[in-house]
């Protein structure tokens, strides 16, 4: 029946005006989206640009001239190094702790049926739905009431607290995508509960846990409000920026900001590439 023949590009008619309108609409949306992206990225461009600024005078917000000095000497500003180091310490510790605690909760939520799910979900959700200023101030009142000295420990406590929820949500999303029967299959194949956990569960959730850990790390590095309230005399990087903002923001801050941004981008890219590699069809 099907006659093997050359494809004759049969004449096609279409409504020209309708097409023009459709095309315009199509591109209108694209244009808008691109403008929105510009809006999102403009400040970042400014941050990056001014990391190369050689400011006239003390203030890094009018363009002086191009220089690499700031990059050559990113910590060339008193106390900046200490603040960055403290931020990284807090972020590392809090993200590790929150990742462990949050992953356990996510495991329970996804893999088990138990009474009190609703309450648990609520408790997970509330910190995400609370203004930071309230969380920070309530923690501060707690610490004040018990005369707990403010500093490293209190910052760490707060960061773990607000990171847990994000970890739970991230890991849960990852876990929910997996077959509930995988662990049963492992047990069926003579794996003890412990073997089941580290041979099956852990490898499966590892990407999600990693993602959650990175998210927690990022949130921790970025947090200002809560830290500001519970930090006492210790100074994290955002607090340093806050202090500097009231006086003169040195270009080194832009350098650090750019570095953090670049590092995060690289990690995200790796993550996307990793996902692509795992699912050859490219469906991430």
């Amino acid at each position: 029946m099907s006659i093997a023949a050359e494809q004759l590009p049969a004449p096609r008619r279409f409504d020209l005006s309708a097409r023009a309108v459709a095309a315009a609409r199509h591109h209108l949306l694209t244009l808008f989206a691109i403008l929105a992206l510009v809006y999102l990225l403009l400040p970042i461009a400014v941050v990056v640009a001014f990391s190369f600024n050689d400011p006239v005078g003390r203030f890094n917000f009018t363009w002086g001239s191009f220089t690499l000095d700031n990059w050559a000497n990113p910590f060339g500003f008193p106390d900046l190094r200490g603040a960055v180091v403290l931020s990284l310490e807090i972020a590392a510790l809090s993200s590790i702790a929150a990742t462990i605690l949050g992953t356990l909760i996510a495991l329970a939520l996804v893999r088990y049926h138990f009474r009190g799910r609703g309450a648990t979900n609520l408790l997970i959700f509330l910190p995400m739905a609370s203004p930071e200023i309230v969380m920070g101030s309530s923690l501060l009142t707690l610490f004040l009431n018990y005369s707990i000295p403010l500093g490293f420990a209190t910052i760490l406590i707060a960061h773990i607290m607000f990171n847990i929820s994000y970890v739970v949500v991230t890991v849960r999303a990852r876990l929910a995508g997996h077959d509930r029967h995988l662990e049963e299959a492992a047990m069926d194949l003579f794996a003890t509960p412990w073997a089941t956990f580290y041979r099956v569960t852990l490898p499966l959730i590892a990407p999600g846990v990693l993602a959650a850990g990175l998210l927690a790390f990022a949130l921790s590095v970025d947090d200002f409000v809560i830290t500001y309230l519970v930090s006492g005399s210790d100074q994290t990087f955002p607090l340093f920026v806050w202090g500097a903002a009231r006086v003169a923001v040195p270009p080194q801050i832009n350098v650090i900001g750019t570095m953090v941004f670049a590092a995060a981008l690289v990690l995200m890219f790796l993550n996307i590439a990793f996902q692509w590699r795992r699912s050859p069809k490219g469906a991430a």
Binding site: V46, L104, Y112, M128, S137, S138, L142, I164, Y166, R172
Partner: protein, 289 residues
Amino acid sequence: MNFFHRHRALVPYLLLLPGLAWLALFFVVPMYYLGYTSLQAGDLFSGYTFAWAWDNYSDAFTLYRGHFIRSLEYAGVATLAAFLISYPLAYWIAFRGGRWKNFLLLLVIAPFFVTYLIRTLAWKTILADQGFVVDALRTLHLVGEDGRLLATTTAVVAGITYNFLPFMALPLYVSLEQIDKRLIEAAQDLYASRVKAFLRVTFPLSLPGVFAGTLLTFIPAAGDFINAELLGTPRQLMIGNVIQSQFKEVANYPQAAALSFVLMAGIVIAVLLYARAVGSERVTAGTAA
């Protein structure tokens, strides 16, 4: 190991225990102390003691009503603006992004990776009275000769919008992305034009994302103080500024706690109502992308 098998019902609780205990200890208990502190009376020199000092609350409502209202206004407008900006953007990425989806999404959340304060300071640079944006607007006569952007309500709201935009865009994207494209085809099959198909099908189906995004934008926006501090004037100060200064500058802890408590209570009530209506798991699901 047999213990776990035999007491399987216990396992979830053992998993939950450490994390939830942490949240209970450092999220729930502090809320109690916030309430407790808010009823204290005294002054800096003699110290504050518990005294059922309800006047902290009446002060919160009388002295700072303006700040509360302003916070809600700004957060509302910023939420709306974030919605109007991010909906087309999320739609575009979800439906037109193709293989670039992940990359475009990355661009949307990219601002997250530059410290909040640095981002806001960058806006200060961009919007400066002598900056190129204002210059351009002046040339276009969109602002007057001595008009400005920085230190205006516009700047504060724009800053809030900007800073919380990803919170709106992400859930929107997730919900749009999840829409079965065949539903839109089905609508077109049933004589709905593109616009109608959007209004009757796409938009209603993206509502969970709209709700989640609204919540996740509005709540932090209502408690924000950085944008008002850096981009505004005393006339733009929000309740967040009051709370932080009462805590950190005036050291009037009871007053600050009462203000926090009112803010929190209002938000919790709203969230609970909302979570009840939509389902808490669905609300939180919006945040995972």
